[in-house]
């Protein structure tokens, strides 16, 4: 008996629709968030993440409505984020039905945001999203959707984020994101073994073997993917059966 490794589908939304980024430019429609949420909930997803990639002020009401619609379909935890800059932003996301909020660029700009959220909602509700890119012998924190370097060491930032009150790290490898070459094992193992909170690995997933590897060699507590689930390339149920067959503890849906 121990904690199961979590499989987490991620919905990137542009307001009301799920979108799929191709090299950050061409975005194509990948479906209705509530429909996908219901499908993943039934297919054995352990959690769901909804990220508003538009993150623009004027589309905020649409995103909150999306969270409400998604939350109504779920009997599993929901994490929401994208464009959360203030405690009030986070409050409206939680009120709309999110169990956890994720912060990224705004926390890099103003790290105290993490403490403010942690005091209000508890550490278990604060997910620090870190986009990391390899530079020589370390990883840099990237902001603004992975496009801009924050000139900050990813490991140091992860440790500081936990110190400030983050209860979980959502770690995306900018080098692997969109490549489908597998998760970034060296990055994930370094961060996961250094911090005292759970780490969700993200970026690069395609095959079931990639998940097995990130759980065993990467020491990830959870693994997140988007397009392979949306496109029905990979069913969550079958992925979990595969992992269970490799003696990796997962929650098998009934």
């Amino acid at each position: 008996m121990s904690l199961a490794h979590r499989i987490i589908p991620c919905l990137d939304t542009d307001g009301a629709r799920v979108v799929k980024g191709v090299n950050f430019v061409a975005l194509r429609d990948a479906g209705d968030p509530a429909v996908l949420a219901a499908r993943y909930n039934a297919d054995g997803a352990d959690e769901l993440v909804v990220l508003d990639i538009a993150a623009s002020r004027d589309r905020r009401p649409t995103f909150l409505e999306t969270i409400r619609r998604v939350a109504a379909e779920l009997a599993i935890p929901l994490t929401a984020g994208g464009g959360i800059r203030t405690l009030d932003d986070a409050r409206s996301v939680v009120r709309a039905g999110a169990d956890k909020v994720t912060v990224n660029t705004a926390a890099v700009a103003r790290p105290e945001l993490i403490s403010e959220l942690s005091r209000e909602f508890g550490a278990q509700a604060v997910v620090l999203a870190i986009d990391a890119k390899r530079v020589n012998d370390h990883w840099d924190v990237m902001v603004r959707g992975g496009r801009e370097s924050a000139n900050r060491d990813a490991l140091a930032w992860a440790l500081q984020g936990v110190e400030l009150g983050a209860g979980e790290i959502l770690l995306t490898s900018v080098d692997r994101d969109g490549t489908q070459l597998g998760f970034d094992t060296p990055l994930t193992v370094v961060i996961s073994c250094a911090v005292t909170v759970p780490v969700i690995a993200s970026g690069g997933a395609k095959l079931p073997e990639h998940f097995a590897q990130i759980f065993s060699d990467g020491a990830a507590d959870a693994a997140l993917a988007a397009s392979i689930f949306h496109d029905n390339m990979q069913s969550i149920r079958e992925l979990k059966r595969y992992l269970a067959g490799r003696n990796i503890e997962v929650r098998l849906p009934c």
Binding site: L3, A71, I76
Partner: protein, 201 residues
Amino acid sequence: MNVTLIDYGAGNVASVERALQRLGAGSQRSHSPECIAKAEALLLPGVGHYAALIRALDERALRAPLLDAIRRGVPFLGVCLGLQALYETSEEAPELTGLRLLPGPVRSLPSTVKLPHMGWNQLKLARSSRLLDGISSDAYFYFAHSFAATNTDGDAVALCNHGSDFAAVIEKENIFAVQFHPEKSAGAGARLLQNFLRIAA
């Protein structure tokens, strides 16, 4: 039968409400002492900081009517912090006093494991349980907490382990409580809530 959800501003009230709706159960949110005094069944959800829950109970004058209702035998279900509140104290806010319906303190889980204890875990059944009736013994439930009732020799009918054993399911007469979130625990959680509704009916 109508469940009164004690609404002190916790994040998971809406999720619990939705979970009960899916089961076809009536519920109402309340933070008034009068409504709690008249409740047929009480549910105390809670997530976040222990101090926020205990302070809210006192600031809204809910402690006395809640204790009174529980002592009269009104079926009560505590979820997460709603379980921790039943004990005497918590290391998360040592200056505050809990509801003192169960003995001992709530303690931090050991730092030898990753905290918060976040995700899906299984239970060890200590004795027969009404809340877990019909639920497979290897079912997973969703946990999200760093503190727990590690004094497990009392009223725990099921334990969980994360660094140390802790009480996962409490059943003591009309007092029921779970450290995990049944409202976020898929089918197993829904069945547990249904069992509580049946017990309370």
